[in-house]
Amino acid sequence: MVASDRKYTKDHEWVLAEGESATVGVTEYAAHELGDVVFLELPEVGTVVAQGEAVGTIETVKSVEDLFSPVGGEIIAVNEAVLDAPETVNQDPLEAGWLFKVRIEDRSEMDDLLSADDYDALIGG
C-alpha cells in the first residue's frame, strides 16, 4: 500500500500539499523501477511552470526520464541535497529524496491527481 498522506500521478510522482505549497518526488515504485539514480536536473527556483510541464530529468545508469510538475505554479524550492547525492532518491524517495516544491496556482489542479488507492491500483498493488 502506498503512502495515503499524498496524491500521485500516472508518471509515478507523488505530491504532498501543505498549505499553498506542493512538495513533489518520485514514488517508491518508480525509484525501484528506475534503478540507481546518478544525476538529476531540477528546475530553477522562481520558474513558473504549467501543470504537466517537463521541468527536469532523472538519470540512471540505464536511462534518462523526464520529471513533470504535477501542478502549475512557481517553483519555490529544490532539494539541493539530492543534486549532490542522487542516490537519496533510491534510499528515501518519500522523505529525504523529495525533488522540488511548487506554489500551487490553482488548487483545482490537485483534483486531477490520483488518490493513493487509485495509484495503488495503477501499479498493481
Binding site: 534503478g35 540507481d36 546518478v38 544525476f39 538529476l40 536536473e41 530529468t57 538519470e59 545508469v61 540505464k62 534518462v64 543534486l83 549532490d84 547525492a85 542522487p86
Partner: protein, 391 residues
C-alpha cells in the same frame, strides 16, 4: 517475448532460471537475456569485490579444424595467430578490405589443428558467413558452427579462482587450473562433450569463461551458486557486464568498434600486427598507420564543478552524444556511464586526431558540458600477477 519484427527471441539453457530468479529480461542480439537481477551497482560491486556469474551463451563459437586453419585464419585476423602454442588465446579483430572492423573476437588454439573463433552475438551471423565464404575452396579447413549447442558461463571476480577450483568436474584438474595463465585455456573431456576452461573475461577482474555443452549449463550454473555461497557469488546481468567492461575500457562492438572506422582509430592498434604478414585489411591499415589515423579514441570526464570548483554529480554522456572542439564538431561519444567504482561520469569518444583536446565539450540534452580528457583504462584491469593487487 518477441522482438519488434516478431522474430521469436532465442533462449539459452538458463533463460528459465533467470526468469525464475527475478531477472529483468530484455531482447539482446536476438536472445532474451537477463539485464539485471539485484541492481546494476550491487552486481557491479559483487564482481569487483567477490565473484559473479554471467550467462553469455549468446556469444558465437565457430570451430575450425584441419592442417590449413593456421595459415588461413592468420589471413583474416589483424593480430597474429600463426605460431600460437596450443592452449593460447588471442584477442583480435577481423576487418573488411578497407579496414572497417567486422567484429572483435577471441581466437583459441586448443590443439595443433583445433581452433575456435568466439565472436559477438550481434555479429555471429555476419562472421559465420564471412569465415565460411573465406574458407570456400581452401584445403584443410573444416568449419563447424557450434554456437547453437554451446553454452558459455563466465565466473569473474577476486574469488573466481577459488570458486572455479571447487567444481567437481575440475577436481582432477587442480594443477591445470592453477597453472592457467591469463589468455590461456584447456579442454576437458566430459561425458556430455568437452568443456573448455579459459582464463579470460570482460570485466577487468581475474576470472574464467567456461564453454560447455548446452545440457551441462544448468547443472554447472547451480553448482557454482551452491559452492560459492560463502564467497558471496551472485548472478550478474548484461547491464553490469557493460559497466564492468567500461571501466577497464574494453571495446564493445557497436560502440567503440564499427565497420565505419578502423581498429587503429578505436585504440586497439596493439591487436593489429602489420609486420611480415598479410591479412584482409592489411593494406588499408598500413596506409592509415603511415598517414596517421584521422580519428582517435579518447577518455573523457564530464565535469560539473560548482562555484567553489568542487565537482558535483554530472550527467552521463551516452553513445552518440556530439563532441565539440570550441564551436566545431569534433566527434561523438561511443560509450559513457557513471563509473560505479570511481563514481565519476566517464566516456569514451571518437574524436578528430588533430583537435585541441583542452577545448572539448560534450552535448547532453541540448546543453554543452565541459569535459576533461582523462587517460583510459579508467580502472586498471586486475588480471596479471596477484589478483588481489591493490588498485
Amino acid at each position: 517475448m518477441t522482438t519488434h519484427d516478431d522474430t521469436p527471441l532465442r533462449s539459452t539453457p538458463l533463460t528459465a532460471w533467470h526468469r525464475d530468479h527475478g531477472a529483468r529480461m530484455v531482447p539482446f542480439a536476438g536472445f532474451e537475456m537477463p539485464v539485471q537481477y539485484r541492481g546494476v551497482l550491487a552486481e557491479h560491486a559483487a564482481v569487483r569485490e567477490r565473484v559473479g556469474l554471467f550467462d553469455i551463451t549468446h556469444m558465437g563459437e565457430i570451430l575450425a579444424a584441419g592442417p590449413g586453419v593456421e595459415a588461413w585464419l592468420d589471413g583474416l585476423c589483424t593480430n597474429r595467430v600463426s605460431g600460437l602454442p596450443d592452449g593460447k588465446v588471442v584477442y583480435t579483430a577481423m576487418c573488411r578490405p578497407d579496414g572497417g572492423v567486422l567484429d572483435d573476437m577471441l581466437i583459441y588454439r586448443l590443439g595443433r589443428e583445433d581452433w575456435m573463433i568466439v565472436c559477438n552475438a550481434s555479429n555471429h551471423d555476419k562472421i559465420a558467413a564471412w569465415v565460411a565464404g573465406r574458407a570456400a575452396g581452401v584445403a584443410g579447413v573444416a568449419l563447424d558452427d557450434a554456437s547453437d549447442r554451446t553454452a558459455m558461463i563466465a565466473v569473474q571476480g577476486p574469488e573466481a579462482a577459488a570458486l572455479t577450483g571447487r567444481l567437481a568436474a575440475l577436481r582432477g584438474s587442480a594443477d591445470a587450473l592453477d597453472a592457467l595463465e591469463f589468455y590461456t585455456a584447456f579442454a576437458l573431456p566430459r561425458p556430455g562433450g568437452r568443456w573448455i576452461v579459459s582464463r579470460t573475461g570482460y570485466t577487468g577482474e581475474r576470472g574464467y569463461e567456461l564453454y560447455v555443452p548446452n545440457a551441462d549449463a544448468l547443472p554447472l550454473w547451480e553448482e557454482l551458486l551452491a559452492l560459492g555461497g560463502d564467497l558471496g557469488v551472485e548472478p550478474i546481468g548484461l547491464a553490469a557486464r557493460d559497466t564492468l567492461r567500461f571501466e577497464p575500457a574494453y571495446c564493445l562492438y557497436g560502440h567503440e568498434l564499427s565497420e565505419d572506422w578502423t581498429p587503429l582509430e578505436a585504440g586497439i592498434g596493439w591487436a593489429v600486427r602489420l609486420k611480415d604478414r598479410d591479412f584482409v585489411g592489411r593494406e588499408a591499415l598500413q596506409r592509415q598507420k603511415d598517414a596517421g589515423p584521422p580519428r582517435r579514441l579518447v577518455g573523457l570526464e564530464v565535469a560539473a564543478p560548482d562555484a567553489a570548483g568542487r565537482d558535483r554529480p554530472a550527467p552521463i554522456a551516452r553513445q552518440g552524444a556530439p563532441v565539440f572542439c570550441g564551436d566545431a564538431p569534433a566527434g561523438f561519444v561511443t560509450s559513457g556511464t557513471k563509473s560505479p567504482t570511481l563514481g565519476r561520469s566517464l566516456a569514451l569518444a571518437l574524436v578528430d586526431a588533430g583537435c585541441d583536446t583542452s577545448r572539448l565539450t560534450v552535448e547532453i540534452r541540448d546543453r554543452r558540458h565541459p569535459v576533461r580528457v582523462v587517460p583510459y583504462p579508467f580502472l586498471e584491469a586486475r588480471v596479471k600477477g596477484d589478483p588481489r593487487a591493490a588498485r
